[in-house]
């Protein structure tokens, strides 16, 4: 983010004849904002994104995937402030101190905003991530993503929610898009849209922060006094997404707006072409648990089998 010159006033306050000092500068939107107007700018941007992609309405029951990090808590806060019915869902992954700390933060936030937080323990459901990691042949993050999606989907249905919202931000989406483009991974690119429609057993999934940068999300958390887990999950060390994010931020510094354009032009120009060529395969039901899957046995049930054998 480019520098804010000394004495710059908030663009919105100035238009209203007020004199509040700007504390944040958003170069790609050419906006200098005070604390209050940054918070309202953020929430308006989230609401605009929700409407642009027709994600959900005030009638929907939304389950927010809460990790205890800045993005999920900022998202939950913004949705509740905007008047949506949004509750939290936390999966205790059983990653030692990291899980204990993040769970505590998610819980105190849920109390603060007075909305329920549903908690599921992976240890009780399957096995904690460190154990899954020992039997999995994939990186821990990918196994973790799979189990999170699985339990989120299952519990959303059980608890009567029709929307799953995740805190993926612009930088997350751009880093994934960049990686998938580097590898020309068309199958992943085809699914990179901020809305995944509901279909046979899958609850509709949305990413309302897809046009919010990571820094904007951290600032929103800061201005709202949201306490979140600041240190990284010990299993995410060396993730290529972090490398991509640092690389892309250097481009962004020189050319503000690059990330947003890369993402929005993909959605506008490339995604429709990819989507057109999609051979739509219908999900089946897992023969063990009944959850939707494209194989006979879903990946979580496969994991369970492998865990049993390992004992």
């Amino acid at each position: 983010m480019a520098k804010l010159k000394k004495g710059t006033r908030c663009s919105i306050c100035k238009a209203k004849g007020e004199k509040e000092k700007a504390v944040v500068f958003l170069p790609h939107h050419r906006l200098a904002l005070c604390r209050k107007h940054f918070v309202s700018w953020f929430e308006k941007r989230v609401e605009k994104t929700v409407k642009e992609f027709r994600m959900f309405s005030k009638k929907d029951r939304i389950l927010v995937a809460v990790s205890g990090g800045k993005d999920s808590l900022s998202l939950w806060n913004a949705l509740v402030n905007l008047g949506y019915q949004a509750d939290g869902f936390y999966i205790d992954l059983g990653i030692d101190q990291y899980s204990q700390d993040s769970k505590q933060l998610a819980l105190s936030f849920s109390e603060k905003i007075d909305r329920p937080l549903h908690i599921v323990s992976l240890k009780e459901e399957l096995a904690p991530i460190p154990v899954i990691d020992t039997v999995s042949n994939r990186p821990a993050c990918s196994a973790c993503g799979t189990v999170k999606r699985y339990y989120m989907n299952r519990y959303a249905k059980e608890l009567g929610y029709n929307i799953i919202a995740t805190g993926h931000n612009l930088d997350d989406e751009v880093a994934v898009l960049f990686g998938n483009t580097l590898h020309w991974d068309v199958n992943y690119l085809k699914r990179q849209y901020p809305v995944l429609e509901e279909e046979d057993g899958f609850v509709r999934k949305v990413k309302p922060l897809c046009k919010i940068t990571e820094k904007e999300s951290a600032l929103y958390a800061f201005f709202n006094g949201i306490e979140y887990i600041e240190y990284e999950c010990p299993f995410s060390e060396g993730a290529s997404s972090i490398e991509y994010k640092e690389l892309l931020s250097r481009l962004e510094e020189k050319h503000p707006g690059t990330k947003l354009q890369f993402y929005t032009n993909f959605l506008k120009n490339m995604y429709p072409i990819l989507k057109e060529h999609e051979k739509k395969e219908k999900p089946k039901k897992c023969i063990i648990c009944g959850e939707p899957t494209y194989a006979d046995i879903c990946s979580v049930c496969k994991m369970r089998e492998r865990l049993k054998k390992a004992v």
Binding site: K3, E214, F222
Partner: protein
């Protein structure tokens, strides 16, 4: 000059050769870009050219996360 900072839940001390230190210097010393990181001085956002002293309570926030 020595500046104590809080970063990702831990305390750290940064040592500088010069005597006038700004929030931007802190980010630079830590190898962080203002594109994704910011400095909180005594509970308020500090702009890059804002000076900091050893008496200030400094927190550095890095917004980049993995996953």
């Amino acid at each position: 000059m020595e500046i104590k900072i809080k970063y990702r839940g831990k305390e750290q001390t940064l040592t500088f050769e010069k005597e006038k230190i700004t929030a931007g210097d802190i980010l630079k010393a830590m190898g962080l870009s203002p594109e994704y990181a910011f400095v909180v001085k005594n509970g308020e956002i500090a702009q890059e050219d804002e000076t900091v002293s050893p008496q200030d309570e400094i927190k550095v926030v890095n917004a980049i996360s993995g996953g």
